[in-house]
Symmetry: C2
Subunit: 610 residues, 2 copies
């Protein structure tokens, strides 16, 4: 049977019992899917009037009557029964994402790279001094430097040629104490490195010149694993339930890294073979999937990683398209749900050397937070859920073009979109803004209950009353009418959306409370709050405080630090002592497992209130 995807014009043959989503994956058509095809997220809507199996129970649940009438289907549920043309509406396409790739300011790390070039002039052997090439190089090395050197087999193969090409004038490229490359003359044009932050949603790579410290290029991609599940739990499930699931997920991420390597080296006009060092941060699941180690144990009690250690591998071990002998350092994890990305944040914010108490908080699909000072650091992770990333909401979307990222309700309702284009949905920071404004305007109360039109009118907010709609069992607030929106349907926030946000912010808030309790301090003792990640950078601190995402810290300076995890990866690339500091971080941070604590449940119940 044939399937064609519009408006892309992509088509192909499929076997019996193929779902539309499976076909989309096969032919490279990118359709949103947050639940790994279980029919629970309702994000993979497509339109087709015939050629598909009858709607399933999941579809009847997730699609409105109007949508069903218009031929909307869930791609993961609909099985292809004959030749079919499927339209992917804009809302279901995986969007290009606005990525915060800048991170901390440059210059915060002393250049001390662990990949270095050394030029030697090795005297020729003679009959009277019949020294082997390798021994000869080591003698010359010891005259100038000293210390044991190791050599890769491929460097040994280069040695006899390099040594004779220019009368013993050679360049060694070292990664730590291993010679990974030998060339005649002054050696490669550049000595490069690349630092990666592998996020659940986004992968960012920073191409660095390891001699000047200059950042040559930055490139980011949507993590292609997203098509197998939006969050880490779906991907862990995918890796368990599919025979080569782990290999598929590893392959996807390696491909993405190789694309970023190609993009950045192309942009900078340099050769990928001149990259001799690489660092990687990512959450614990990404760490496992990148290495091809099963993350299954992370997904079930007692939630332990297989491996958390700092690892050093070579590019050829993993199939990374840089110099095959390049060293790849993977920063360590702290615990099952506090990964190397948090290690990157701690490294970049230098928490282990803070005199006063500080809080670093990285909000993505999960919220990881670390609090303390050089005397003691404690960390925890809460399932913030995808609300802050726009998933699981009726009109939620990622922070991409057309996403409403700021809202004010001041007499009238005003909104702002990323890229200033017509609105397609609401992203995390927009939702926080919206709910903060709804609270202020009295549209929702402290328990999160949306008021009806009558109550608003009684409160003198009659102009907003018409925006309150009743849809089946729940109330909705109309933010953008269908004529103003880019998707032909209105953009609304539902009572359930508000509840999702309450769950998310409650989890973060409760985590922060538990950290303070564990340290035995009150909010007045916190002097600095680092907000990491895209969400932390775009959010308006007043709105975050208004909805109670965090307690008010009366003495703290709030510092958005952007992609601090990526900044940490860059630091570990540019400085051996930063890399060594990162390796020590897991021993310096105490992990609090919240799921085992009854006091977390109490704090959580409390923190759900606005």
């Amino acid at each position: 049977m044939k399937i064609r995807f519009e408006p892309f014009g992509v088509s192909g043959q499929v076997k019996q019992n193929t779902t539309v989503l499976q076909a989309a994956i096969e032919f490279g058509v990118k359709i949103e899917s947050f639940c790994a095809g279980r029919g629970t997220c309702g994000k993979c809507k497509v339109i087709a009037s015939e050629g598909l199996s009858a709607p399933t129970v999941m579809e009847l649940k997730k699609l409105t009557e109007e949508e069903l009438r218009k031929g909307y289907r869930l791609a993961c549920q609909a099985v292809i029964t004959s030749d079919v043309v499927v339209t992917v509406p804009e809302e279901s396409r995986i969007a290009q994402i606005n990525i915060l790739a800048e991170g901390m300011a440059q210059g915060s790390v002393q250049m001390e790279p662990w990949v270095r070039r050394h030029i030697l002039r090795v005297p020729a052997a003679t009959l009277q001094n019949q020294v082997a090439d390798l021994q000869n190089v080591m003698r010359t090395w010891n005259e100038h430097h000293g210390g044991e050197l190791k050599f890769t087999l491929s460097a040994l193969r280069q040695l006899p040629f390099a040594l004779r090409e220019r009368d013993g004038h050679i360049a060694l490229v070292l990664a730590d104490d291993q010679v990974v490359h030998i060339e005649a003359g002054d050696g490669p044009e550049h000595i490069l490195g690349i630092a990666f932050d592998i996020g659940t949603t986004t992968v960012v790579g920073y191409l660095m010149d390891l001699e000047s410290g200059e950042r040559l290029a930055v490139s980011s991609l949507l993590n292609p694993q997203t098509r197998y599940g939006a969050d880490v739990v779906s991907r862990i499930l995918f890796s368990i339930e599919n025979e080569s699931g782990l290999q598929i997920l590893q392959h996807e991420i390696l491909e993405a890294l190789n694309k970023i390597i190609a993009n950045t080296t192309h942009a900078a006009g340099v050769a990928p073979e001149n990259i001799y060092g690489m660092t990687v941060v990512g959450n614990t699941t990404m760490y496992h999937l990148f290495l091809g180690i099963s993350p299954a144990a992370l997904g079930r009690m007692p939630y332990v990683p297989a491996v958390s250690a700092t690892l050093c591998l070579t590019a050829k071990d993993l199939g990374i398209a840089i110099h095959p002998e390049a060293h790849i350092w993977v920063l360590p994890n702290i615990a099952g749900w506090v990964g190397a990305d948090t290690v990157g944040v701690i490294l970049a914010t230098d928490l282990p050397n803070h005199e006063d108490t500080a809080l670093a908080i990285d909000i993505g699909t999960n919220g990881e937070m670390v609090m303390g000072s050089r005397r003691r650091l404690v960390a925890c992770s809460t399932a913030a859920g995808p609300a802050f990333e726009g998933a699981h909401l009726s009109c939620g979307m990622r922070a991409a073009e057309g996403a409403i990222d700021a809202v004010s309700i001041d007499g009238d309702v005003r909104w702002h979109t990323i890229g200033e284009s017509a609105p397609k949905g609401i992203c995390g920071s927009g939702l926080v803004d919206l709910v903060a404004e709804m609270l202020r305007a009295g549209i929702i109360d402290a328990r999160g209950a949306m008021q009806d039109g009558q109550a608003l009118r009684a409160n003198g907010q009659g102009h907003l009353a018409e925006r309150i709609l009743q849809n089946g069992g729940q109330r909705e607030f109309l933010l953008v009418s269908s004529t103003e929106s880019a998707i032909g349907r209105p953009i609304k926030v539902t009572q359930r959306d508000v509840r999702e946000l309450q769950l998310a912010k409650g989890a973060i808030r409760a985590g922060v409370q538990i950290l303070m309790k564990e340290l035995g301090i009150g909010p007045e003792e916190v002097r600095r709050v680092y907000l990491a990640g895209a969400f932390g950078n775009y959010i308006r601190p007043e709105s975050a405080l208004a909805i109670g995402l965090m307690p008010r810290f009366p003495n703290a300076k709030i510092v958005p630090v952007g992609n601090a995890a990526g900044a940490g990866a860059r630091m570990a690339l540019l400085s051996i002592s930063a890399r060594e500091r990162a390796a020590r971080i897991p021993d310096q941070v105490e992990y609090l497992e919240l799921s085992g604590r009854p006091d977390f449940q109490e704090e959580f119940a409390e923190a759900m209130l606005f």
Copy 2:
């Protein structure tokens, strides 16, 4: 054009300008060739009456008129001009070789293997004790053993599955301090290792059980590089003169090792994946070719190796078909022409711990010799030439079935062949015997000149006179008539053959003299002479002394030690301290470069005399 090789019935298509030898290599037909196709050795004789280019100058030189009349050609010179049927006579086929693979007696090394199995019972992680799998294993390890462990990436990938399959009951396989394999339960059926001696002519592999120390199987093959040249110099030239010559030679030897691995594991009924450790010895050229490192510098002044160090690699680095993470230890070289095989001999004979002076001498294509005691050891290498291996002689052959390996001239001339079959030629030990007997019978004089029939008759040896033939400018001694021989032609020793032997024995003898001179001792101080290698094992010591291969050592015990190089490789496999002793040997042995010494030339001229 088509070519068919008889009596094998192998045929195939060839392109224009292909020589018969190139076609033979392409279709896997094994034809002797000692000169890498330069037309100088005359060993690659084939028979064809038409379909080939006209004989070259080299062929007119190397083939007799009768041979030319019978259609004999040199395979390396004859270019295929039309469809052709080529017969490979028995004398040109590469024979199965009688290999001395036994070496030293077992039990001379204390079992102390560096590949070990460890069984652990790792307690399960809990919510209260959320320890990562790897950390959990390390904790259990440290309770029982202690010391840092490293893990390969593939072992880390095995870890989470192995740990959960049998409630934490796992087996680790360690190579030194690295975990190379993890399995649930008690682990692999066997923990195996393999030791290789890569000779210029022969490759031997010893499959060992690393837990019992038992030798499970031995297998040997002709070094397939032989088809690109019989001696190391031809192979070095081949690696320089052909674009992928080095890769071809490396590929050939790796294939041979893999065949031996397949043969030995099949014979022992075990799995190649259960081989986790391997050791390798070989001469310096073999060391380079095995590793794919150019040996070019060995072939020209000042004759230096690129690398001589002890190396540790993994099976997957080289494509060896055992466990991919198995460790491969390559023993070190001492100098350009004294390689890891000599290190193996020194290790097996334990020279560095000898109280009295000993001499170890390994005669193959080259003669390497080491003399001294625990106070001082000196080594040298002489180009013995291939006479001892049967090459470059008119009727010479390797020590294979049908080779005359012992001769007595006592009234009548008697000979013995390997395998007791009809004689095909003379091997090295046969030649030494023959010349010793010819000397005793007065057929040759102290300068090596063959007497004519008249002189013999005058000496009362008239019955031998008819065996002296005059062929062109030189005298020949008829050993076997054409009716008694297996090749349809007589087997003879020529004046030139005697000269070849004089050169060979002169080089060895002169080397021994220089070693004594360097140590300032006379032959009476030598208490033990180890004769290593196949030649050393088959040779009759009286004959060796009769021709003056060595001085007479009045106080020495002569001990044939067989393949001592291979025995050294086995010791380094079974014992970490033996492996470490081997690594120290290059620092304990002084190398004497003979080519720079005028006194060697004098000794050599003297030692040529009988």
